[in-house]
C-alpha cells in the first residue's frame, strides 16, 4: 500500500494499465518514461503464461462451479479476464483488448440465443490451444492483435464467427443482402456516422454477400465448430458503387467479378475503409477519449497528428499507440485524472490498491453489472456509453458498495500491512499511509479533514488490532468510494 513513486509512472499505468500493483510500480518505477512506454508496447518480450496461475496462492481467487471452464462458461470467461487485468504483466495488451472489445462490441446474449451458451462462450473466449476444433474466440483474436495492424483486424473481424452471428453476416446472401454488418463496419468500426450514404450501406451489404459460416469437424469428438467460409454461390457479382473512393486512383466502383473471385470485393472495401482519412480521425478521437482525456472537446491537433501516424504507418496500431503514449497531450499536467474510470478499470485498480489475496473476482461480477458493465455483454454494437454516463446514481452507489465489499474482505490484510509499516501509531500516520496507496484526483477542500475526523469519530485512538482493522476497512471504503478516486 504505502509507497512513494514517480507520479508520471502512476499516470501512465492508470491509462495504459488498470492502475498498478506494488510490484508493477516498482518495476516501471525504475524506468524513465520512454523506457516504460517501450516496455509496455513491446509486451511480446514478456512470456504470457498468466492464465496458468489461476487458482494459485498469492493471486486473486476465482470461484469454481464444478470445474473452471472459461472455454465454455461465460461466467468463468469473465473471471479469467478480470484475473488477467489484475495480474498480467502485459497490461497494455489487456487495455487494448478492452478498447477493441468496446470498439467491435459483440454481445454474448444474442450469440447464446442462436447457438447456445457453451458455443457462444467458445466463439468469444476460447483459446485455440485448448479447443478441440482449434476455435479461437473473438476476444482472443483481439488480444493477439491488440497492437496489430488495423486493416488486418478488420479482415479478421469480418470473418469472426461471433461477429458473423452478432451482425447477421451468416445470413447475407445474393438473393437478399443483409445490411447489418455493412452499416456498422462503416458507422462504428471505421469512418463514423455521417460519412456515408444509405446507398453505400446497400452496396456494402452486397459486397459481403457470401461471407457466411460453415460447420466442419465431427460432432463426436468436440471438433465440430462454426467458422468463416466464402460461399461463391451466394455472392452478388454485379459492380458496386460507393460515394467515397474505393481505390487509390479514386475509383468508386468495385468491378463486377466472377463469383469465384468475389471475396476480393470485401477485401477491397475493407482496404478502402482502413485507408480512409475519416477512419484515421475516428480512431484517433476514440483513442483520445480512452487514453488522454474526457474533459473538454477532443483535441483537433492530436487527432490530425495521430491520424497521420495511422495513415503513414499503414494502420500499425503499435506505432499509433507509441505516439499516443508519448504525446504532449497525454503528458500535459492538465490531463491527469481527466478520465472517468470504466467499471472494470475501477474494480481492478481498487484490487491493485487495496489488495486481492483472499478475494474472488467472482464477487466483482454482480457489482460490475450494477455499475453498468458486463464483460462480453456490451449494451449494443456501439459499445458502452462511457464518460459521465457511467455515473448514474445507481452506478455510483454500486461503486461505493463494491469498495465496501472489497474493504471488508481485505480488512485483515490492511491491518497487517499497516502494522508492518508501523503506520497505525496515530490516525495521521494511518491516513498518510493509505492516501499514498490509493491515489486520487486532488481532493476537494475539506475531504482529507473529514477522513481524519472519521478515524477519531467513535472514540479515542488506541491503535489496537481491532480498531485498526475497522478503521482501515472503513477508510478504504470511503476512499475508493470517493468521487476523486473514480477519476483516472
Amino acid at each position: 500500500m504505502a509507497r512513494t513513486s514517480d507520479r508520471r509512472i502512476e499516470h501512465l499505468l492508470r491509462r495504459a494499465s488498470f492502475g498498478a500493483r506494488p510490484d508493477e510500480l516498482e518495476y516501471y518505477g525504475e524506468m524513465t518514461v520512454p523506457q516504460a512506454v517501450n516496455a509496455l508496447l513491446n509486451y511480446d518480450n514478456i512470456i504470457d503464461d498468466i492464465d496458468s496461475f489461476v487458482g494459485k496462492p498469492g493471486y486473486v481467487n476465482v470461484t469454481l462451479r464444478g470445474q473452471f471452464l472459461p472455454q465454455s462458461n461465460i461466467i468463468d470467461a469473465r473471471q479469467r479476464w478480470l484475473f488477467r487485468m489484475l495480474h498480467s504483466d502485459r497490461p497494455l495488451q489487456e487495455k487494448m483488448t478492452l478498447f477493441w472489445h468496446n470498439h467491435f462490441a459483440t454481445g454474448y446474449a444474442k450469440i447464446a440465443g442462436t447457438l447456445g451458451a457453451a458455443e457462444a462462450t467458445r466463439y468469444l473466449a476460447a483459446k485455440a490451444s485448448q479447443d478441440p476444433g482449434r476455435v479461437h474466440g473473438q476476444i482472443e483474436m483481439l488480444r493477439d492483435n491488440a497492437l496489430g495492424n488495423f486493416r488486418d483486424i478488420l479482415v479478421k473481424i469480418a470473418k469472426d464467427t461471433a461477429m458473423l452471428v452478432w451482425l447477421d453476416g451468416r445470413t447475407n446472401t445474393r438473393a437478399m443482402p443483409q445490411e447489418n454488418f455493412a452499416r456498422e463496419i462503416m458507422e462504428l468500426f471505421t469512418m463514423g456516422v455521417g460519412t456515408f450514404t444509405e446507398e453505400d450501406v446497400y452496396a456494402g451489404a452486397r459486397v459481403f454477400t457470401g461471407w457466411n459460416l460453415t460447420r466442419p469437424g465431427a460432432a463426436t469428438d468436440g471438433t465440430q465448430h462454426y467458422e468463416f467460409v466464402y460461399n461463391p454461390g451466394q455472392h452478388e457479382t454485379a459492380p458496386k458503387t460507393f460515394s467515397f473512393p474505393i481505390y487509390a486512383d479514386g475509383r468508386r466502383t468495385i468491378p463486377g467479378r466472377s463469383a469465384a473471385d468475389g471475396m476480393q470485393d470485401g477485401l477491397d472495401l475493407i482496404d478502402a475503409l482502413a485507408a480512409s482519412p475519416n477512419t484515421a480521425r475516428y480512431l484517433a478521437a476514440k483513442l483520445y477519449r480512452f487514453f488522454v482525456s474526457e474533459v473538454g472537446p477532443v483535441n483537433p491537433a492530436f487527432v490530425e497528428r495521430i491520424g497521420s501516424v495511422y495513415l503513414r504507418s499503414r494502420y500499425d496500431m503499435k506505432a499509433v499507440m507509441r505516439e499516443v503514449l508519448l504525446s504532449p497531450e497525454f503528458w500535459a499536467e492538465s490531463a491527469y485524472f481527466t478520465r472517468y474510470s470504466w467499471p472494470v478499470e475501477f474494480v481492478v485498480r481498487a484490487m491493485k490498491d487495496i489488495g486481492w489475496v483472499g478475494f474472488s473476482v467472482n464477487d466483482a461480477l454482480n457489482p460490475l453489472a450494477n455499475m453498468g458493465m458486463i464483460l462480453y455483454e456490451p449494451p449494443d454494437v456501439a459499445g458502452w456509453d462511457a464518460g459521465r454516463a457511467w455515473f448514474s446514481t445507481g452506478a455510483m452507489l454500486a461503486r461505493m458498495n463494491f469498495a465496501s465489499t472489497l474493504a471488508f474482505n481485505q480488512r485483515f490484510n490492511l491491518g497487517t500491512t499497516l502494522r508492518l509499516a508501523n503506520a497505525m501509531r496515530t490516525p495521521d500516520t494511518m491516513l498518510f499511509h493509505m492516501t499514498s496507496g490509493l491515489r486520487t484526483a486532488p481532493l476537494d477542500t475539506g475531504v482529507a479533514a473529514e477522513w481524519a475526523a472519521y478515524l477519531q469519530a467513535t472514540g479515542p485512538w488506541t491503535g489496537s488490532a481491532t480498531q485498526v482493522q475497522a478503521k482501515a476497512a472503513g477508510l478504504a471504503h470511503l476512499m475508493a468510494g470517493s468521487p476523486e478516486y473514480q477519476m483516472v
Binding site: V201, G372, M400
Partner: protein
C-alpha cells in the same frame, strides 16, 4: 437508525446495510390533500421496432406480397378497427392485453411518426428521438430539459431511470438516478454499529461538497450526493407489494418498481423503462409461438398489461401516461434472412387513464409505386406524416402542463393530436 446484516454466502463475504428511518415527505401531505399528480413513463423499444408487425395493415394487398414469410395472417390479427384513411388495422396476436386497453379507450396509436431525412442509424436515431433536436442530437434530452424547467429546489428523485446507464432522453442539468433494483439501492459498510454509522455520516457530509471550477469532478459528486439523498425513499419502494404478479422479465420488474414508486408517493414524476431486442435483421419470426418477434410482443404486452391493471387497482391509472418510442421503423419488404432492415417512420403509443384512445394519423399504403406519397426511399420505407415533436408537444402542453414551444425550441403544436 437500523443496521441489518446481509450475507453473501456464495462468495463467503459479508457486507452490512446501513439505513436511517425514512423521513416524512411533503408529497404525502400533498397527496392526502387530494392534489392531482401527473406521472410520465417513457417507454423505449430498443433496436427499431417493426411497427408493421405490431399494428398490422392486414388487408393491404402489398403487405403479404412484400412480407411473404413475416406477414401475420388476417385471421390471426386482433382486429381493432379502421383508421381515418379507411385502412383496417389489427394488433399482433400476442397483444391481447393491449387490445383490452385499446377497447377500454385508453390506448392511442399515433401512426407514421418520424421526421424529415430520418436517420437509419440506431445511435444517431435514438439521440434524435431523445433530444427532439435533429440538428443537435448530442444535446440534453427533452425529458431532462423538462425536469430542469421545474421550480427549485430540484428533487434528486424527480426522475427515475430503471436501466443501468442514464439514457440521453433523461440527460439534463439535473442528475437523474438510475435504479435498476430498489432492493439493492442501499449504503453498505464493512463495519457495523457506531462504526458503520460514522462512515455513513462521513460519506454524507463529503457528498454535500460542490467542487468549485472542476465540473468533471462536480458531476461525480452530484451523483454521489443524489445517491445519498434518495436512499431511504427508494428503500420504501422495495417493500411495495403490487396487487398482482408482474412478469419475471427485466421490463416487468422495472414496471413494478415504477408502480411502487407511484404508490409510495416518493415524489418521482418521470420514469424511463425500456425493453430491447427489436433489431430483428434475421429470424424475426413474427408468427411462431416463441419466435423472436412473438417474444418481443409477449414481453411488451405482459409487462404493460400488468402495470395497467396494477395501477388501476391502486387508483393511479388517472395519474399516469405511458409514451412509447423507438429509433426507427423497419424496411417494409423482408430481407433474405426472414428479417427486416432499418427503416424510417414508425408508430408511437400513448397509454393511460386519461388517454383518448384510438388512431391518430394514417397508416401507410404499402404499394411499391415509387411515387407512393405515404412511403419514401423508392417506396422501401414508411414516410413520416406526424413529426414526433408534435407528439412530445402534446405531452408537454396537455399532460405535463408546461410550454412545449420553449422546451422544444419551436412550435410543433398540431391539431388533431388530442390523445391526452
Amino acid at each position: 437508525m437500523k443496521v441489518t446484516r446481509r450475507h453473501f454466502l456464495e462468495g463467503g463475504i459479508a457486507a452490512f446495510t446501513v439505513t436511517f428511518a425514512a423521513p416524512e415527505f411533503f408529497y404525502d401531505v400533498a397527496r392526502a390533500q387530494g392534489a392531482h399528480v401527473r406521472n410520465l413513463v417513457v417507454l423505449y423499444l430498443g433496436g427499431g421496432n417493426d411497427a408493421l408487425s405490431m399494428l398490422v395493415p392486414y388487408n393491404d394487398p402489398f403487405y403479404r406480397v412484400r412480407r411473404p414469410t413475416l406477414a401475420v395472417a388476417a385471421g390471426q390479427v386482433l382486429q381493432i378497427g379502421t383508421d381515418s384513411s379507411r385502412v383496417t388495422l389489427g394488433l399482433h396476436p400476442r397483444l391481447t392485453g393491449l387490445k383490452q386497453i385499446f377497447d377500454q379507450g385508453r390506448l392511442a396509436f399515433i401512426q407514421r411518426t418520424g421526421y424529415e431525412n430520418q436517420s437509419r442509424s440506431h445511435f444517431l436515431g435514438t439521440d434524435i428521438w431523445s433530444t427532439a433536436d435533429p440538428n443537435n442530437p448530442q444535446g440534453l434530452g427533452w425529458v431532462g430539459r423538462y425536469l430542469d424547467s421545474l421550480p427549485s429546489p430540484v428533487d434528486p428523485l424527480g426522475g427515475w431511470n430503471t436501466t443501468g446507464t442514464l439514457p440521453r432522453v433523461l440527460q439534463g442539468r439535473t442528475a437523474v438516478p438510475s435504479i435498476q433494483n430498489a432492493a439493492g439501492y442501499s449504503f453498505s459498510s464493512p463495519n457495523t454499529g457506531v462504526e458503520a454509522a460514522a462512515e455513513r455520516e462521513t460519506a454524507l457530509r463529503i457528498a454535500s461538497h460542490v467542487p468549485v471550477d472542476r465540473p468533471e469532478l462536480a458531476f461525480v459528486y452530484a451523483s454521489s450526493r443524489a445517491a445519498m439523498a434518495t436512499l431511504d425513499r427508494v428503500a420504501s419502494v422495495a417493500t411495495y407489494r403490487p396487487s398482482l404478479t408482474y412478469p419475471n422479465t427485466g421490463f416487468g420488474q422495472a414496471l413494478q418498481a415504477v408502480a411502487g414508486a407511484m404508490a409510495r408517493s416518493i415524489g418521482t414524476r418521470v420514469f424511463y423503462v425500456t425493453t430491447g431486442g427489436f433489431d430483428t435483421h434475421s429470424g424475426q419470426n413474427v408468427n411462431g409461438v416463441g419466435g423472436a418477434y412473438y417474444n418481443l410482443m409477449a414481453t411488451l404486452n405482459d409487462g404493460v398489461f400488468a402495470f395497467y391493471n396494477d395501477l388501476r387497482s391502486q387508483g393511479l391509472l388517472e395519474d399516469t401516461l405511458v409514451l412509447s418510442f423507438s429509433e426507427f421503423g423497419r424496411r417494409i419488404s423482408e430481407n433474405g434472412s426472414q428479417g427486416t432492415d432499418h427503416g424510417s417512420a414508425s408508430v408511437m403509443m400513448a397509454i393511460g387513464g386519461r388517454v383518448n384512445g384510438g388512431f391518430y394519423g394514417t397508416a401507410p399504403n404499402l404499394n411499391l409505386d415509387p411515387g407512393n406519397p405515404t412511403l419514401e426511399n423508392k417506396a422501401a420505407d414508411v414516410r413520416y406524416e406526424t413529426d414526433f415533436r408534435s407528439v412530445y408537444a402534446q405531452v408537454l402542453d396537455s399532460w405535463l402542463g408546461t410550454d412545449s414551444v420553449r422546451l422544444l425550441g419551436g412550435n410543433f403544436r398540431r391539431t388533431g393530436l388530442a390523445f391526452v
